[in-house]
C-alpha cells in the first residue's frame, strides 16, 4: 500500500510539472500579448501609434521582454518560493489575490449544486433501476434525458426570462445590491440563500441526469448477480438488501470521479456564471483569457489542473481503501 501511494505521488508531481510547462506555453500561443492588446485598443480609439521605444518600455514594465523560458522560470520560482502567481495587468495585483477573492462564492455554489445533484439523483436512480421499464422509470428517464440535452446556459436564459416575465424579478447575481460589498452577516447569508437556488438548480440539473443514468445502469448490473438472489432467498428484507449490497457496489464509479469535484469547486460552470452574472471565479478566468492577462489565466489553469491531479490522487486512495483488488495490482 505504501509503495503504491509513493508511486502515485511521484507520478502526480511529475504530471503537475509537465502541466505547468504546457500551461505556460499555451498561454503564450495566441498571437500578441497584453501590450499589443492595449496598443490595438488605443489605436482603435484614435490614438497615435506609440513609438517602438515606448512599446519596449511598456514590455519591460510588464516583464514581457524576456525569452519564454526565462519568463517561465521566473514565474514558477515565484509560485514555489513566494506563493505569488504573477502580476495581473488588468487588476494590478498578484494573480493569486484575484483568484482567491472569488473562491468562496465558487465553493458555495459548487458544493451546494453538488449536494443538490446527489440528493436528487441517488433516490431517483435507485428507483428507476428497481422499477425498470415501469411508467415511473420511463418518466424519470425522459426528464433525465431532456435535462442532459439542454445546455445549462440555455436553461439559465430561459429561467431568467420566466422569472422576469412572470415574477418581475431579475434573477441575476448572488447578492442584492445592498449586500454586494457588505461584510458577512446573518442577513447577508440569508440574502445569498435567496439568490442561490436558481444557479444551484441550473448548474446541477445536467449532472443529475448523468448521475441517474449511470447509477441505474450500474445497479441493474448488480441486481442480476447471484449474491442478490442468495440474499433474497435467505429472506433479507428488500430495502436492507438493496442499500447494503448492490447500491454500495454501484457507487464505485462515483468514488473514482469524486476527485474531479475539486477543480469544479474552483471553476464551476463558466458560461452559466456569465449568463447569471455570478461573482464566481469562472468569469474571471474567461476575461483573463480574452484580454491576454496571462498570469491570471495561467494561474487559473495551473490551479485547475493541479487540483484535477490531486483529486485523482485522492480518488485513487479512496478506491484502494474501498476495493482491495486495486491495492495489490
Amino acid at each position: 500500500m505504501r509503495k503504491y501511494l509513493l508511486r502515485r505521488f511521484l507520478t502526480m508531481v511529475l504530471t503537475v510539472f509537465i502541466i505547468s510547462l504546457i500551461t505556460f506555453i499555451i498561454i503564450q500561443l495566441p498571437p500578441g500579448d497584453y501590450v499589443t492588446n492595449i496598443i490595438n485598443r488605443m489605436l482603435s480609439q484614435g490614438a497615435t501609434s506609440p513609438s517602438p521605444e515606448d512599446v519596449a518600455l511598456l514590455r519591460k514594465i510588464y516583464g514581457l521582454n524576456d525569452p519564454m523560458f526565462v519568463q517561465y522560470i521566473k514565474w514558477i520560482e515565484k509560485i514555489i518560493f513566494e506563493g505569488k502567481f504573477g502580476y495581473s495587468f488588468t487588476y494590478q495585483k498578484d494573480a493569486i489575490e484575484i483568484i482567491v477573492a472569488r473562491l468562496p462564492a465558487s465553493f458555495v455554489l459548487s458544493l451546494s449544486s453538488f449536494m443538490f445533484v446527489w440528493i436528487i439523483s441517488l433516490p431517483i436512480g435507485i428507483y428507476s433501476a428497481v422499477k425498470k421499464y415501469s411508467v415511473g422509470d420511463y418518466f424519470v428517464n425522459f426528464v433525465g434525458f431532456v435535462g442532459l440535452a439542454i445546455p445549462s446556459f440555455l436553461l439559465a436564459l430561459v429561467c431568467l426570462y420566466v422569472a422576469y416575465k412572470y415574477f418581475g424579478v431579475a434573477a441575476i447575481g448572488l447578492f442584492s445590491k445592498e449586500f454586494q460589498n457588505a461584510p458577512w452577516s446573518a442577513a447577508r447569508v440569508l440574502d445569498l440563500i435567496k439568490h442561490m437556488w436558481i444557479p444551484m438548480i441550473i448548474v446541477g440539473i445536467g449532472g443529475t441526469a448523468g448521475l441517474i443514468r449511470t447509477l441505474r445502469a450500474n445497479l441493474l448490473d448488480e441486481l442480476n448477480k447471484p449474491y442478490v438472489d442468495t440474499a433474497r432467498a435467505k429472506g433479507l428484507p428488500e430495502a436492507r438488501l438493496l442499500w447494503k449490497y448492490p447500491v454500495r457496489h454501484a457507487l464505485n464509479p462515483f468514488i473514482s470521479t469524486l476527485g474531479w469535484m475539486l477543480p469544479s469547486l474552483i471553476s464551476g460552470e463558466v458560461i452559466v456564471a456569465i449568463v447569471l452574472n455570478l461573482p464566481t471565479s469562472g468569469p474571471i478566468l474567461y476575461n483573463a483569457l480574452a484580454s491576454q492577462d496571462m498570469y491570471v489565466a495561467a494561474g487559473f489553469l495551473l490551479m485547475l489542473s493541479t487540483l484535477t491531479v490531486v483529486g485523482t490522487f485522492i480518488s485513487d486512495i479512496l478506491l484502494a481503501l474501498l476495493d482491495p483488488r486495486i491495492r495489490f495490482q
Binding site: M42, G46, T90
Partner: protein, 693 residues
C-alpha cells in the same frame, strides 16, 4: 436654415452670477426646436417652464455674509463640521455655468449605473463621471465651447495658442489647478526622455510638430503653446479624446513618483515592487497612453472630474464614486454641480444580464449594448408600468454600412479588380438599400453613400447620392467592364486568368456597437452573389482579425461609418482619406504609414502610390489650416476627392436610435447625439442630471 437649434440648454461661460437667490417666479417660455434627423424636417414645439424657484435647502445655518453659491447637503455637513472649506472658497472665480435642460435639480441620491466587463471607465463611467477636456464640443458639432480652459485663443496663423485657466479652480483635494500642472504634464511627462523614450507622446501634438513645439507659462493661469506651424483644428482636437490629458496630471501629487522631484523615489519603488521609476510613475498616475482608467482604481489620485472613486472595482462587482467637493461647475442659480451625490457602478458579466436589470428597473442608467432588438422589450416593460422612458438618439455617423474592398490586396489580380472604380460602382448598384433600411435601421433613414450628413458644412450632395439606386442591370453593365472573360457555367464572373473570381468578406462579430454585423454580411454577400460575384463571408472576433490586418490578409470588410455630423468628418476622416486605421480599403498603405511610425508586427505594408500621398497631404493641410472657414473649404475638397474616387460603398444614413433611462432621472434631452468623439453621454451634461425624489 439653421440646422440644429438646441435652445433647451445654453452653456454660458465666463459669466459670474451675482444675484442668484432672488425671488421665486415662474416664467413660461415657448421654444421652437428644430431637429433634422432625416431629410424630412421634424418640427417640435416644446413648452419649457423655466423654474427660478430655489428648491435646494442647505443644511447649514447661513453665515453673516450670504454665500454666493449653494451646495449639496452632503457637503454642507462637512463644511459645518469644519472638514471642508465653504463652497465659495471651493469654486473658481469664474465657474462654468450649465443651464439645466429642463429644471433646477435636487441634490442627493445614489445613481445606479450598469456596465459589462472589468473596466468601469470603458464600461461607460468615463462618459459621465469623467471626460473633462479644455474645451467641449457644441451640441450640434459645429464648433466648441470652453470647459476646463476659460478661453483658448490663437494668433493670426493659428500656430500659437494661449490657454487661460480658471483662477481659483481646485483639484479634488483642494490644491489649486494652475499652469504648473499643465507645465508638469508637458515638460516633465511628455517631454521626459525616460518616460517617453520614443519622443514626445501626446496625441494632440501631431508628429510633424514635435520638433517645433514649445511650451511657456505666461502667469499662473495662462499657458502658451507654440506649434511652429498652423494648427487650426487644435481646439476641436482638444474637445475630442486627444484632449483628455490636460486634466490628468496633478503635479502636487504625481511629483512624488517622478525622479526629478523625489530624491528618495527608490523607497516608493520598493514599496510598489517595481524595478524602474517609470514603471512606478505609469502605475500610480496615468499610463503611457494617458488612459483615464486610473481615476477609477486609485482612490488617492486627485481629480478634476465630477466624481471621485471611493471604492474601486477590484475583484468585486461594484465600483463606488462620490461627488468631487471642488467640482467647478454651477447651474444658473448658483448651485454647485453635480446634483447627484453618489454613483454605484454595477458590473454585469454579459449584455443579457445588464439589459434584464435595466428592464426590471434595477438600474437608473446603463451602457446600452448596440442594436435595436431590445426596443420591443423596453416598450413592453414601460407598458407594464416599469419606471423607464425612451429618448431618441440621433445618429452622428456617415453611414450605417461601410463596405470596403482592399485595393492593396497582396494578390495582384484581386488588387486590380478592387482598385477598379467600375467594380465598386457595380457592387453599389447591386445593393438593395430600401431593404437594408427595413432590415437594419428600423425602416428609418434614407439611402446614401458614406458621406457627411446633409446638415454638415462638409455635405456634398453628389457624395451622398451617387450610384445609390438598386439596379441589377446597371450593376452587370459596370461589372462587365471589369471582367472581360465573362461568367462561368454557374453564373459567376471569371478573372483575367479565366478562373472564377472569388473573395471573402470579413465581418467582426463581437463589436458591441454592431451586434448584427454578421447578419448584415450575409445579406450583402447575397446581393453580390446575385450579380455574379462569388463572395463568401467569414465572421470572426476582433482578436482574430487584428493579426490578419497586420498581414494585410484582407479582401473585403465591413467597417464603421464615423464622420457624419457637423465637423466630425474633419477629425475622424477614416471614410474620406486613405491610410486611416479603419480605412481598410487602403489597408496596405495604412500599414505602411503605421510601420513608418514604428508600429511593430506589421508584415503586410504596401508603399502607396503618389496620388495617395497627395490625398493625405491635402487632409493634413485641412487639419492645420488656421481658420475654420479654411478648414471646411479644404476638407470639402478632400470629401470631393473621396466622392470622385469612390473608395467605399455605403447604404443608408439617418434614422433614430433609442436609449432608455430610468424615469427617476431628471434633465435628460429628448433628442440627443451619441458618438465617441464628444464623449458619448457627456454631451448630455450628466452633471445636471438629478434623481427625482
Amino acid at each position: 436654415m439653421r440646422k440644429f437649434t438646441f435652445v433647451t440648454i445654453i452653456l454660458i461661460v465666463s459669466f459670474v452670477l451675482g444675484s442668484c437667490a432672488k425671488t421665486p417666479t415662474l416664467t413660461p417660455e415657448v421654444i421652437k426646436e428644430t431637429v433634422v434627423a432625416t431629410q424630412l424636417v421634424k418640427e417640435t414645439s416644446v413648452v419649457k417652464v423655466v423654474e427660478t424657484q430655489n428648491v435646494v435647502v442647505t443644511a447649514t445655518p447661513l453665515p453673516t455674509a450670504l454665500p454666493k453659491y449653494k451646495e449639496s447637503p452632503m457637503l454642507a455637513e462637512l463644511v459645518t463640521a469644519g472638514k471642508l472649506p465653504p463652497v465659495d472658497q471651493r469654486l473658481p472665480d469664474n465657474p462654468v455655468v450649465v443651464v439645466p435642460v429642463k429644471e433646477t435639480g435636487v441634490y442627493g441620491g445614489d445613481f445606479r449605473f450598469g456596465f459589462v466587463g472589468g473596466s468601469p471607465e470603458w464600461g461607460g463611467m468615463l462618459y459621465f463621471a469623467g471626460w473633462e477636456h479644455p474645451v467641449f464640443w457644441k451640441l450640434d458639432f459645429s464648433g466648441y465651447v470652453p470647459n476646463l480652459a476659460e478661453s483658448l485663443t490663437a494668433n493670426a496663423d493659428a500656430s500659437v495658442w494661449t490657454m487661460k485657466l480658471r483662477k481659483g479652480m481646485k483639484w479634488s483635494d483642494g490644491v489649486p489647478f494652475t499652469a504648473d500642472d499643465i507645465g508638469f504634464f508637458i515638460q516633465d511627462v511628455l517631454m521626459n526622455k525616460e518616460l517617453y523614450p520614443g519622443g514626445v507622446g501626446g496625441d494632440w501634438l501631431p508628429g510633424d510638430m514635435t520638433a517645433t513645439f514649445s511650451y511657456a507659462k505666461a502667469d499662473d493661469y495662462t499657458v502658451i503653446l507654440s506649434f511652429g506651424k498652423s494648427y487650426g483644428t487644435f481646439p476641436l482636437i482638444l474637445a475630442s479624446w486627444a484632449g483628455r490629458q490636460f486634466a490628468m496630471y496633478p503635479k502636487h501629487y504625481l511629483q512624488q513618483f517622478h525622479k526629478a522631484y523625489n530624491p528618495n523615489i527608490a523607497d516608493l519603488m520598493k514599496k510598489q515592487g517595481v524595478e524602474t521609476w517609470t514603471a512606478l510613475f505609469f502605475t500610480k498616475g496615468p499610463d503611457t497612453w494617458g488612459n483615464p482608467g486610473r481615476w477609477f482604481t486609485e482612490v488617492d489620485l486627485p481629480t478634476l472630474y465630477a466624481y471621485k472613486v471611493t471604492q474601486p472595482l477590484g475583484t468585486g462587482s461594484q465600483v463606488l464614486m462620490e461627488r468631487n467637493p471642488y467640482y467647478w461647475k454651477v447651474d444658473d442659480k448658483g448651485n454647485q454641480l453635480p446634483y447627484i451625490d453618489k454613483i454605484t457602478g454595477i458590473m454585469y458579466q454579459d449584455n443579457q444580464g445588464l439589459t434584464l436589470a435595466m428592464l426590471n428597473g434595477d438600474l437608473d442608467f446603463y451602457n446600452k449594448p448596440g442594436g435595436d432588438e431590445e426596443k420591443p422589450l423596453f416598450l413592453d416593460a414601460i407598458a407594464q408600468g416599469k419606471p423607464l422612458f425612451i429618448t431618441n438618439v440621433l445618429n452622428d455617423g456617415a453611414n450605417g454600412v461601410v463596405l470596403q474592398f482592399n485595393m492593396t490586396n497582396p494578390d495582384p489580380v484581386k488588387a486590380e479588380v478592387f482598385s477598379d472604380k467600375n467594380f465598386r460602382v457595380g457592387v453599389s448598384y447591386s445593393i438593395n438599400r430600401p431593404e437594408l433600411i427595413e432590415l437594419f435601421n428600423s425602416g428609418l433613414g434614407y439611402p446614401s453613400q458614406v458621406c457627411p450628413q446633409p446638415s454638415s458644412p462638409l455635405y456634398i450632395e453628389q457624395c451622398n447620392n451617387q450610384y445609390i439606386e438598386y439596379d441589377k442591370a446597371k450593376a452587370q453593365e459596370y461589372l462587365d467592364k471589369v471582367f472581360t472573360k465573362g461568367k462561368d457555367a454557374d453564373g459567376f464572373y471569371l478573372d483575367k486568368n479565366g478562373r472564377r473570381f472569388s473573395f471573402v468578406l470579413i465581418v467582426i462579430n463581437n463589436w458591441s456597437w454592431a451586434p448584427r454585423n454578421a447578419d448584415l454580411g450575409e445579406v450583402l454577400v447575397g446581393y453580390m452573389r446575385a450579380v455574379g460575384l462569388d463572395a463568401k463571408m467569414n465572421a470572426m472576433p476582433d482578436t482574430q482579425w487584428d493579426p490578419l490586418r497586420l498581414k494585410n490578409e484582407v479582401e473585403a470588410f465591413i467597417s464603421t461609418g464615423e464622420g457624419g455630423a457637423g465637423l466630425t468628418g474633419l477629425l475622424d476622416a477614416r471614410n474620406y482619406v486613405p491610410m486611416e486605421y479603419w480605412g481598410t480599403y487602403s489597408n496596405g498603405w495604412t500599414l505602411w504609414r503605421l510601420k513608418g511610425q514604428g508600429v511593430q508586427g506589421i508584415t503586410g505594408d504596401v508603399e502607396p502610390p503618389q496620388w495617395v500621398v497627395d490625398a493625405r497631404k491635402k487632409y493634413d493641410d485641412a487639419l492645420s489650416a488656421p481658420t475654420e472657414a479654411d478648414q471646411i473649404a479644404r476638407m470639402r475638397a478632400v470629401v470631393q476627392e473621396a466622392t470622385d474616387r469612390f473608395y467605399e460603398i455605403g447604404a443608408f444614413q439617418g434614422g433614430e436610435a433609442w436609449y432608455p433611462f430610468s424615469s427617476k432621472i431628471g434633465n435628460v434631452y429628448d433628442n440627443w447625439y451619441q458618438g465617441w468623439i464628444e464623449g458619448v453621454y457627456k454631451l448630455l451634461y450628466p452633471e445636471q442630471w438629478y434623481l427625482i425624489p
